[in-house]
């Protein structure tokens, strides 16, 4: 572990695919939100199990994709990782240290090294701050990153790097398009020379033709600064494109994890299979070639999840054991972990033979 590495640039040159040491380890992470009633004297009437047992490992220079449908808890995971929420149980180990036990200086340093990019480029920038102020704000908090003199120059270099005109430092967010705003958000995250950037649906709100620009920018920045990404999205195509490893989330926990190849071509959890089989394909000649798995019903409420396996209420493979015993996320002979008692690889996305 290189405790002394402060600037991400020190790790620059780490190439895609060349994965470094473990940066972040998430162990059995849980976040339960209390459901309360009453105005002055609130009493707890239950808990929403937004995150309920998430395990993840991130290495330097790696992109981990986290996919799942709305309400599965993936956004709560991102908030936990950037310490905007405190976990109910479990731990987040960053370079071997538990984030929950960090205080003062250590936590401040963690907050510098782990940055976040939000989904909505219209809500994530303060409308009453200039672009220059937005990008440079982190330096007021972490004064050691950039000396006071030359901050403007640094800001302009950052804007330039993310593909914006450096002359725009004095403009306000509303003067930019969605894609440009997302670049400002990226520059803000980059300003603190982070090790990890949590990307919470960073391209979902953008126009199709602009999404690719931002995805490419993220990839280039990763190569240049040796960044690690946790890429959270519901768009399975984008996640496959950008990720080295992919974790699939359902109702608060991870049901399957593996390299993008393993998860997309040999999914072994029924939910992953159903999810992948629902994605519309872009090639006319592949149309109708895949098995469509149509799931029945809705996702159960996270306030009252099913016993045993969370997915059993909608699963076509469910048997008695599924209601009694929650399946652990372990390798069940497919070469990658899957949280299903009856894990079995199945091809649902036809392979595009060019």
């Amino acid at each position: 572990m290189s405790e002394s590495t402060t600037g991400a640039t020190a790790a620059s040159g780490a190439l895609r695919g060349a994965i470094g040491e473990t940066l972040l380890e998430v162990r059995d992470l849980q976040k339960h939100f209390p459901l309360t009633q009453g105005v002055l004297f609130k009493r707890t009437v239950g808990h929403v199990r937004a995150v309920d047992g998430v395990n993840l490992t991130m290495h330097r220079g790696e992109t981990v994709g986290l996919v799942g449908e709305s309400g599965c808890g993936k956004s709560t995971v991102s908030k936990l990782l950037v310490a905007l929420e405190k976990p109910t149980a479990g731990s987040i180990l960053y370079k071997g240290r538990d984030v929950a036990k960090m205080g003062g200086r250590a936590l401040k340093e963690y907050r510098r090294e782990v940055q976040i990019i939000f989904q909505d480029p219209y809500a994530s920038l303060n409308p009453r701050m200039t672009v220059g102020d937005i990008v440079a704000e982190g330096w007021s908090v972490h004064a050691d990153v950039a000396p006071k003199k030359g901050r403007l120059q640094r800001t302009q270099e950052l804007l330039d790097r993310v593909g914006l005109n450096p002359d725009y430092v004095n403009r306000y967010p509303h003067q930019f398009s969605g894609g440009q705003r997302q670049r400002i958000g990226i520059a803000r995250a980059l300003a603190l020379r982070p090790e990890i950037i949590v990307c919470d649906e960073p391209v979902s709100a953008l126009d199709v033709s602009v999404q690719a620009q931002v995805v490419n920018l993220l990839e280039d920045l990763q190569d240049e600064f040796g960044l690690s990404y946790l890429f959270i999205a519901h768009d399975l195509s984008v996640v496959r494109h950008i990720s080295d490893r992919v974790a699939v989330m359902y109702l608060g926990s991870i049901v399957e994890e593996g390299t993008d190849e393993q998860v997309y071509t040999a999914p072994s959890h029924p939910y992953t299979q159903a999810l992948l089989s629902s994605v519309p394909l872009h090639e006319p000649h592949l149309r109708g070639q895949k098995d469509r798995i149509l799931l029945q019903g809705d996702v159960p409420s996270p306030a009252d999840p099913p016993s045993g396996c969370r997915f059993r209420t909608r699963c076509w493979k469910a048997q008695d054991i599924c209601a009694q015993e929650a399946p652990a996320l372990v390798d069940r002979g497919q070469g990658h972990p899957s949280a299903c008692h009856f894990a079995e690889a199945r091809t649902v996305v036809p392979v595009d033979v060019e």
Partner: protein, 350 residues
């Protein structure tokens, strides 16, 4: 009043019938304080029975505005329909009184929206809102209307329809709300259904269910379906024909198979190569440069030329086909395919 060509079925996808809706050179602008926004600049298309026509475009391409013009639900002002016609059952809707238009909407043409929650009234039960269609247009009694509402909820596969008819919109999940919207839209057996980003707000597994439902309903009723979307995958999976819109114009039109296999307009081509696919990890994405255009200041000539990698400017261009000055018309490039590019043949490679 009747247009001669309307009775003639156009060569459409196999299994489709005669034309039910024709949009002819539609122009819509928004007159705002800060200037005129040219949202739709001469859009024409025809929809046949049983046909699914996808209108593909990004935000600001005018795809939703043209649909709102058909439904007569544009906010006027600021929106003004400045030209063109919308022909339905032999009559131009734009020449009719509001009262006559109201009679067409609902029974003839109906629409579903992206955001089902804000399209439903939170203080009425869904059964009441579906029944409203029958009470308002068919003069049914409250009791009969409710009975029909339950039938419709069954038809759009809402589980336990009889028990849920008195529930309120917030008690339904996103997918179920969209089904309620669909039930309202098909209540009066419309001949045309316009679906404006019907699945954009939904999760991918729910999206598949809703698209399946729409296709099944179309098979049963023979209605024409206009599917407005930005999702290439959805277009490929459900549409027969596709019209690609950019800056308020149709830039390419053809069957989905043809257009997706071999685009004739650089914008369509750019969209295809900028979108990652689930089928393969793929190499580096090839984005379209720049931002979608500002409709208050659409570039001269071909509106796509500032972002186009194939543009020809000045001396490099064929006379009369300079991309920055000459607006390319939508023209037939090869049989069954129209494109609005001076150099479509090169893009196609024919």
């Amino acid at each position: 009043m009747t247009r001669p060509d309307l009775s003639q079925p156009r060569a459409a996808a196999p299994g489709t019938g005669g034309t039910v809706l024709e949009v002819d050179d539609l122009h819509v602008e928004f007159r705002t304080r800060s200037g005129v926004v040219n949202a739709v600049n001469g859009v024409s298309y025809r929809l046949a029975e049983r046909e699914t026509l996808a209108i593909l475009g990004e935000s600001g391409s005018g795809k939703s505005v043209s649909a709102q013009a058909i439904m007569g639900i544009l906010d006027t002002p600021p929106a003004v329909i400045t030209g063109g016609g919308i022909w339905f059952e032999g009559r131009d809707l734009l020449q009719q009184s509001e009262e006559e238009q109201r009679k067409v909407r609902g029974p003839g043409i109906s629409m579903i929206f992206q955001d089902a929650l804000s399209s439903l009234n939170p203080v009425y039960s869904v059964g009441y809102q579906i029944g409203e269609m029958f009470r308002a247009h068919r003069g049914m009694s409250k009791k009969d209307a409710k009975k029909r509402a339950v039938e419709l909820m069954d038809r759009v596969r809402i589980p336990g329809a009889g028990a849920r008819v008195n529930d309120y919109p917030h008690q339904f999940s996103g997918g179920m709300r969209q089904r309620v919207m669909i039930a309202m839209a098909i209540a009066l057996d419309p001949r045309v259904l316009i679906a404006d980003e019907p699945t954009t707000a939904l999760d991918v597994t729910v999206q598949a269910q809703v698209m399946d439902l729409l296709k099944d309903l179309q098979r049963e009723t023979g209605m024409g379906l206009i599917l407005i979307t930005h999702d290439l995958g959805v277009v490929n999976e459900v549409a027969d024909n596709v019209a690609v819109m950019y800056a308020g114009r149709i830039v390419e039109r053809g069957t989905v198979d043809d257009v997706f296999a071999n685009p004739a307009h650089p914008y369509t081509d750019g969209l295809m190569s900028s979108v990652p696919q689930v089928e393969a990890k793929g190499g580096r994405l090839l984005p379209i440069a720049g931002q979608p255009p500002n409709l208050a200041a659409i570039p001269s000539g071909c509106p796509f030329h500032p972002r186009c990698s194939r543009r020809r400017l000045g001396a490099a261009a064929t006379p009369g086909r300079e991309c920055a000055t000459d607006l390319p018309p939508l023209r037939l490039v090869v049989p069954g395919r129209e494109a609005a590019c001076h150099y479509s043949e090169e893009v196609l490679g024919v």
